[in-house]
Symmetry: C2
Subunit: 268 residues, 2 copies
């Protein structure tokens, strides 16, 4: 879900409600802005899909974006450079062995990372140590089990379930969104607050149908076709029927729902 | 889901966001208020669970609440009288044969009704005829397929699925929430807008855990135990394990999610 955002969607009437945010960026990021001069660690920046938004929303903050992959970092840096932001530095490191002193950062930001980790609770503990007392952590994760749609389709649900199982087999957890609250509490964060960010798509929102349902979610499911089939999780015909039925939800009478979760906590 | 509201919950910090509305009433009703002097038809008021809120939020509107059951109407009237509201009149009638002239009402309100009807689209068409041109319809429905939780539990999902199947066997549709947009469009309403209203419950929200997860949702599932078992849908042990697992989601590390949908449309 790292390239998950939708450009330029504006509902016809002015909407103050967040569940009708025009873009995924707005839905997930609009309430994250760090003060000028504060230090922010982005743990697991990947190819920088969120880094540009972070830098834009907190132009005076000093952001350090870390990833384990040198290739991803290179891509992230190119994105940030192209967008003209100079408040981000990049560093290659493992989230479980970050090269920073304890209490180095005012804030930590983690987006679409915990879902891929075998030991997310341990990662949160490690990140907590890097926070100054009074500092905050913000975690955003999806939850593939939050997906439902109209017309309903067992084939589409089966194809999504393949991703859940593959991620589980790889040590990750595609249902981690709903678990953010207990994970943050268990890691000892204080004042933990989790809010769901539901993406609701019907045909009055064609840009979300295209940008989210088709090009983000369904594209992600299509991307695991080979591994789902070679793992014996599903027959090709069933998988393809499921993907077709996901596309079907973007027709004029279709509806698609997915929920992200955003959790914040403080280090005491 | 007709007695589905939770009293007096106030999160510790002030929240402007609707997905963190303190009560189910606030979540579902806060943006429905009809002008003084306008005429409002509540179609399918049942025992009046929503009628009191309607009357409170639109004190100057003239509300007509209709139900097919004389017993339910009696109960609804007692509730409204006890709350001291005088702007509601009650009338016994079938939603498919309402005793009103065409274009009689400025607004129509329908809550937790379509899910029980064999022909919801037809009901919407009938209601549209009763609206004056420029009048509005507001429809609120749940969607049991929107339910997910932590810890996840196949037994709990199985128990919920029994309700979905029983409602289907009775001609209803427990997954109707996600379909409000196409239903309203198909009935010919204009300017249709649907918004999801997600109830997110973790242990920082103990009143919602008690009032919604335990006493509304799980109580509703428990209520179909006899018919689910006698219909051969499930074994008693599996059903009871499912109910236990739903209660389990209200423990300190548990999370429970459910989404209502609210749709509005206009008659041109």
């Amino acid at each position: 879900m790292t390239s998950a955002y939708v450009h330029g969607y504006h509902p016809r009437e002015s909407e103050r409600l967040r569940d009708q945010a025009g873009t995924l960026v707005e839905l997930l990021h609009s309430d994250t802005s760090y003060p000028a001069g504060s230090t922010v660690l982005e743990a697991g920046c990947g190819v920088g899909a969120q880094t540009v938004t972070l830098a834009r929303n907190s132009p005076g903050a000093r952001i350090t974006s870390v990833d384990i992959s040198a290739d991803s970092l290179k891509e992230a840096k190119a994105k940030v450079d192209a967008a003209g932001f100079t408040n981000v530095q990049f560093r290659q490191a493992d989230i479980f062995a970050l090269p920073f002193d304890p209490e180095s950062f005012d804030h930590v930001f983690v987006c679409f990372v915990l879902e891929h980790l075998q030991r997310p609770a341990e990662a949160l503990l490690a990140l907590k140590k890097l926070l100054k007392p009074g500092g905050s952590i913000t975690v955003i994760e999806g939850d593939h089990g939050s997906t439902y749609f109209h017309p309903d389709s067992p084939a589409a649900r089966g194809a999504i379930q393949c991703l859940v199982k593959l991620q589980q087999a790889a040590g990750g957890n595609a249902l981690i969104g709903r678990q953010l609250y207990p994970l943050l509490v268990e890691a000892g964060f204080d004042a933990v607050h989790v809010s769901p960010r539901m993406v609701y798509v019907d045909s009055s929102r064609p840009d979300l149908a295209d940008g989210f349902t088709r090009k983000t979610f369904t594209a992600m499911i299509k991307g695991i076709r080979g591994s789902a089939i070679s793992s014996g999780l599903i027959e090709p015909e069933s998988f393809d029927a499921g993907v077709d039925d996901l596309y079907r939800t973007t027709e004029s009478d279709g509806v698609f729902c997915y929920t992200f979760f955003k959790g914040v906590g403080e280090r005491q």
